[in-house]
């Protein structure tokens, strides 16, 4: 049976036999970096194409279908075009910050990749405060956006960046509280332990209604955190033309674009890990035969399937709903999501203490 775990252990063993431990670690680092960059490029291409195809299907049209079979290489062509474009820097922009901002946004997305378990025992860094690490790092991306908006010296960019600041800071709260419910149920911050706790059932099923509520709140909050419609106020093309990245072009724009999609992937991966059991196959109570069949599906497929399902849901939101206004956005967070998730956390704590969950 195919398993990523086998490959990684084999590579590691071979490296440690051939080289001394320090060098082996260094080589491993290089391999991991290369893999991460490849994953980024691949994900960017796939997700952009997926978004365009989903949008097309929802909007009763065909979507890209000229480059390659079924338009498969459309995003490759787009990337080539973006690479070849001239990267303009406005005359009155703060040049250092302007050029730095896309890399900060990108770097944050890369850092977030570390604790995610892509398959069974296939994880870059199984840090013991995994969930905390994620919520700490993910709030850093707002710095990049604020930097981009401020340094562009464009009024639309500035408005977009300020909106984004207010938005990300407030939605961080309910996303964190939604994550906390699972931490309370599991009793651990480590990603591998959270997944292991879902051996006999995913938290969304085991945790009764509070887990479902937490899941819904989490999805709403991360949609807002990644600046996706209906919370795409930072870009809001009908109001602010393109928001914080109005002045960017060429590869610098592409980095923003890529970071947006990588962020979606990461938050969906986290959502899948916390609520849908990560790479854990679907097990139903005592149906031994069914559980065995499910085990035969590789764990990486389970993980990717769950993640892409969540990505699809977020895309579905985008192509259905109108955009909120900035004050309504903050109202939704502070008047609805935050009180509900606080209450929900209390409920989950009671459930966890009394051991009511399965």
């Amino acid at each position: 049976m195919f398993s990523l775990e086998g490959i990684t252990t084999a590579v590691q063993d071979w490296l440690f036999i051939k080289f001394n431990p320090t060098l082996a670690l260094a080589i491993e680092c290089v391999i991991v970096i290369l893999l991460a960059i490849t994953l980024f490029a691949g994900l960017g291409l796939v997700l952009v194409l997926m978004e365009r195809k989903v949008a097309a299907r929802i909007q009763i049209r065909l979507g890209p279908n000229r480059v390659g079979p079924g338009g498969m290489f459309q995003t490759v062509a787009d990337t080539l075009k973006l690479i070849m474009k001239e990267g303009l820097t406005p005359d009155s922009a703060d040049k250092f910050l302007f050029n730095l901002a896309p890399f900060i946004v990108m770097m944050v997305a890369m850092l977030l990749l570390a604790p995610i378990a892509f398959a069974k025992n296939f994880q870059i860094w199984d840090i013991n405060i995994g969930v905390l690490y994620i919520s700490a790092i993910s709030s850093l991306s707002v710095i990049g956006i604020l930097m981009a908006g401020w340094a562009s010296n464009n009024k639309y960019s500035l408005l977009g960046a300020m909106r984004s600041g207010a938005q990300i800071v407030s939605y961080e709260l309910s996303a964190g509280l939604a994550v906390l419910t699972i931490v309370v149920l599991t009793g651990s911050l480590q990603i591998s332990e959270i997944i292991a706790a879902q051996q006999n059932g995913w938290w969304i099923f085991k945790g009764h209604i509070p887990a479902v509520i937490a899941f819904v709140i989490f999805i709403i909050a991360v949609t807002a955190e990644t600046n996706r419609a209906p919370f795409d106020l930072a870009e809001a093309e009908s109001e602010l033309t393109a928001g914080f990245h109005t002045e960017y072009s060429g590869m610098k724009f592409a980095l923003f674009f890529l970071a947006e999609y990588i962020n979606i992937f990461i938050v969906c991966a986290i959502g899948a890990t916390l609520f849908l059991g990560g790479w854990m196959p679907l097990h139903i109570g005592s149906w031994e035969a069914f559980n065995h069949i499910m085990d035969y599906i590789p764990s990486s497929v389970w993980f990717m399937g769950k993640t892409f399902f969540l990505i699809f849901v977020i895309m579905w939101f985008r192509w259905t709903f109108p955009r909120l206004r900035i004050d309504q956005l903050l109202n939704l967070e502070w008047k609805y999501l935050l009180p509900i998730s606080l209450l929900n956390l209390l409920l989950v704590a009671v459930i966890a203490i009394l051991g009511w969950h399965f």
Partner: protein, 158 residues
């Protein structure tokens, strides 16, 4: 009371959003509803309405003859100065001089397809045809001469 309102607000909001998602989800799952026409590919099967006003042409018969007498009714009827009639004098076999067109210059780039010239023409010499692929790289190519070279007026048209 406040709590009841709050909960019903949340409930109604969420249901209205779900209804919208059901609608878009329906279209996602039903690719038969796709209405895109793949234009350059379907050129062979593309049918345009026969009345579609694409450009003005002057029909010629197999003898390279047209029906234009050069009366300039179309030129006068045109609101934009799209048509310019250049006339000359032909000598008929009987030795009489007869007015005929030298060139009927048609500026497609100025035409608004109002059909007034076709309505105004007393001898039905020009008509609208449903061609629509007019793009060219040079604007001067849109200035057309409607009568074919060496064409003459059909017999019996005054």
């Amino acid at each position: 009371m406040f709590l009841k309102e709050y909960i019903s607000d949340v409930y109604n909001g969420v249901t209205s959003l779900l209804k919208g998602m059901r609608k878009t989800g329906y279209y996602f799952l039903h690719p038969k509803e796709i209405i895109t026409e793949q234009y350059p590919d379907n050129r062979a099967t593309l049918v345009l309405a026969e009345r579609f006003k694409g450009e003005v042409v002057m029909p010629h018969d197999q003898n390279n003859e047209h029906a234009c007498t050069g009366c300039t009714a179309c030129e006068l009827a045109c609101p934009n100065g799209t048509i310019k009639v250049v006339t000359k004098f032909d000598v008929t076999p009987e030795g009489k001089k007869k007015k005929a067109i030298d060139a009927l210059v048609y500026h497609l780039e100025l035409c608004t397809m109002c059909n007034l010239c076709v309505v105004a023409c007393p001898s039905d010499a020009i008509k609208m045809v449903p061609t629509f692929e007019h793009s060219v790289f040079d604007r001067s190519k849109l200035t057309k001469i409607l009568n074919k070279p060496a064409s003459k007026i059909r017999e019996g048209i005054e």
